[in-house]
């Protein structure tokens, strides 16, 4: 429905205009329409409607084509981070039970080992698939309430959670993006983040607006600057760590960014000094996006040039107002809404919310109730109606814009026979925002082996989830109910490692 409509509209309006581009290909709306139709036909041969299609690939235009093709064929795309280890990917496959996969050729053998017999289409061959227009004519694709994507996030329970996204969510998000970001038709947008991440909906929003989505194959600050210049990018979405890296590379001095007008940022708080430096040195306006994958992507925004005044509490970050179609309330301990100025949990509503976590009703009930999604962020609304984020209520670690739950890391470290107890907490990082630190209680004092712990993490976790430090403790501090005293450990990590840095500097 919606994604089909986006492609059809682009085809009807200006078939030769550029819809997608990456370092290898420019794709017009006519070519996008052809590729989507061809891949949809191919996938239909291997699957039944509603089946899941695993997508395992680095960034390229064909990944976006695959999402459109799944929607056209009534299938559900399940993008997976290729940096995940085999056990991590295997757990996702066991959960979603894919009927087919679209993957880079180099990953075909990996998938074959994890899920024998799974038909795999090489993502690079999509432009060469036969066009079967007649066979596919009149197919309705998936409906507005049908799932079209399952996006996996880190989990509070040690296993990744699949956020089920339907076409209505993508539609409302695209319309709110038009209202609150206002890209003009033809606007060149740079997608610098991974296409398996929840921020991919922003690329789909720009396509819905008739823009051109430029896909960066992998982020490096040098490559990102080159892409911004070469493709004359006007809008880009970056996480704060990426912005900091752009400002650190020597490539910046020789890059022409005169076409870049708007830098959208989100996924982690943007420090004020970084925002000021980015405005000055990149010569752009900044727009804050507060999004959550479970909320369908962006839900709050702070438009450029909005004066917000002093934060209501030190360290609070203003994330603006609800975008079109989104609702917001702040609730207290009793679950009731609290007045302006009072800090509580931020909850969002609207047609963009996820349907459910895939096969996980308990986790769904934990965050989604009566049409309201609990973001687990703590914040308040000021007298002018603007939303401020103060802190997080749960244990989520935000590393370079990617979510990492301590439970996933703790689960892996507990596999060591030398580990009696373990707790992972965030440590502030100038570059990444936060990094994980593991406090480890060994079964005996002389059995703390950092090398073994590191190897367990290398084997079982994607690199961005790996703790930056392992700290031995005699005993993990817990309250009488057995709950780890995480706040105390966060403070200990901060004091210990800050002192350590000063000592070794």
């Amino acid at each position: 429905m919606w994604l089909n409509h986006v492609v059809r509209r682009g085809l009807d309006r200006d078939p030769d205009a550029l819809a997608l581009r990456d370092a290898r290909r420019d794709v017009s709306w006519r070519e996008l329409h052809r590729d989507v139709r061809a891949l949809a036909c191919r996938l239909r041969h291997d699957t039944l409607p509603g089946s899941r299609v695993l997508v395992l690939s680095g960034n390229c235009v064909e990944v976006l084509e695959t999402y459109f093709a799944c929607a056209a064929a009534g299938l559900v795309a399940v993008p997976v981070n290729p940096a995940l280890t085999d056990p991590e990917i295997g757990a996702i496959m066991e959960s979603v039970e894919p009927s087919a996969a679209v993957a880079e050729a180099g990953f075909a053998a990996r998938l074959g080992g994890l899920y024998p017999g799974l038909p795999v289409t090489d993502v690079a061959t999509i432009p060469e698939l036969p066009d079967e227009d007649a066979e596919f004519a009149g197919e309705p694709g998936s409906g507005m309430a049908d799932p079209v994507l399952i996006l996996h996030t880190s989990a509070t329970t040690g296993r990744a959670k699949g956020v089920v996204v339907d076409q209505r969510s993508l539609q409302i998000n695209a319309l709110s993006w038009l209202a609150d970001v206002r890209p003009a038709p033809g606007t060149a947008f740079l997608n610098a983040g991974p296409l398996f991440h929840g921020s991919v909906v922003i690329a789909l929003d720009h396509l819905a607006a008739g823009g051109t989505v430029c896909v960066l194959d992998r982020f490096t600050p040098q490559g990102c600057l080159a892409a911004l210049e070469r493709w004359e990018v006007e809008h880009a979405f970056l996480v704060p760590s990426m912005v900091r890296l752009l400002l650190q590379t020597r490539s910046l001095a020789g890059t022409d960014l005169s076409r870049l007008r708007l830098l959208l940022h989100g996924a982690a708080p943007m420090p004020g000094e970084l925002a000021r430096e980015a405005r000055e040195r990149l010569g752009v306006e900044l727009q804050t996006i507060f999004g959550i994958t479970e909320g369908g992507g962006p839900v709050l925004t702070l438009r450029p040039g909005t004066a917000v005044g002093e934060p209501p509490v030190p360290g609070a970050v203003c994330v603006g107002v609800p975008m079109l179609g989104a609702g917001l309330r702040v609730t207290g301990e009793d679950g009731c809404e609290v007045p302006a100025g009072t800090i509580g949990e931020l909850q969002v509503s609207g047609d963009g919310l996820m349907q459910t976590y895939w096969k996980n009703p308990e986790a769904t009930d934990d965050v989604l109730r009566d049409g309201w999604l609990n973001t687990h962020d703590l914040g308040c609304v000021d007298a002018a109606g603007r939303v401020w984020v103060v802190d997080r209520r749960n244990d989520l670690i935000l590393r370079g814009g990617q979510n990492v739950y301590p439970a996933e890391i703790e689960h892996v470290l507990r596999q060591s026979p030398d580990v009696a107890d373990v707790v992972v907490v965030p440590l502030p990082s100038d570059l990444w925002g936060q990094t994980p630190v593991a406090f480890v209680q060994p079964v005996e004092a002389d059995r703390f082996d950092e090398t073994e712990l590191l190897q367990l993490c290398v084997d079982g976790l994607a690199p961005y989830k790996r703790p930056t430090h392992f700290l031995p403790v005699e005993r993990i501090p817990r309250n009488p109910a057995g709950k780890a005293l995480r706040t105390r450990l966060r403070e200990t990590a901060h004091q210990t490692l800050t002192a350590d840095r000063e000592h070794t500097a």
Binding site: Q222, T249, R250, G254, T451, Y464
Partner: protein, 81 residues
């Protein structure tokens, strides 16, 4: 710079960009960084250190070639020629 000095210097430089410098001790000169568990964020930091070492931005091809200790050493050698 001799090859041995170059590799030693490169290893020191790379270790400064890693969360766990011990990870590098297990790697031979030609072992692939990614296969050994060095992440993309660490590779970016290695590249920024190299820019400082060379006093110039790195080209795309150079960035793609940062896959092993020996590859980094070759780049530093090239920068001093």
């Amino acid at each position: 710079m001799t090859a041995v000095r170059s590799l030693d210097a490169v290893r020191t430089l790379i270790k400064g960009s890693l969360d766990h410098p011990a990870l590098l001790d297990r790697l031979g000169g030609d072992d692939d960084f990614a296969q050994a568990g060095i992440g993309s964020g660490e590779l970016i930091r290695i590249a920024l250190s190299l820019e400082e070492e060379l006093g110039r931005p790195l080209e795309d091809e150079e960035l793609l070639g940062l896959t092993s200790v020996r590859a980094v050493a070759a780049l530093i050698g090239a920068g001093e020629d």
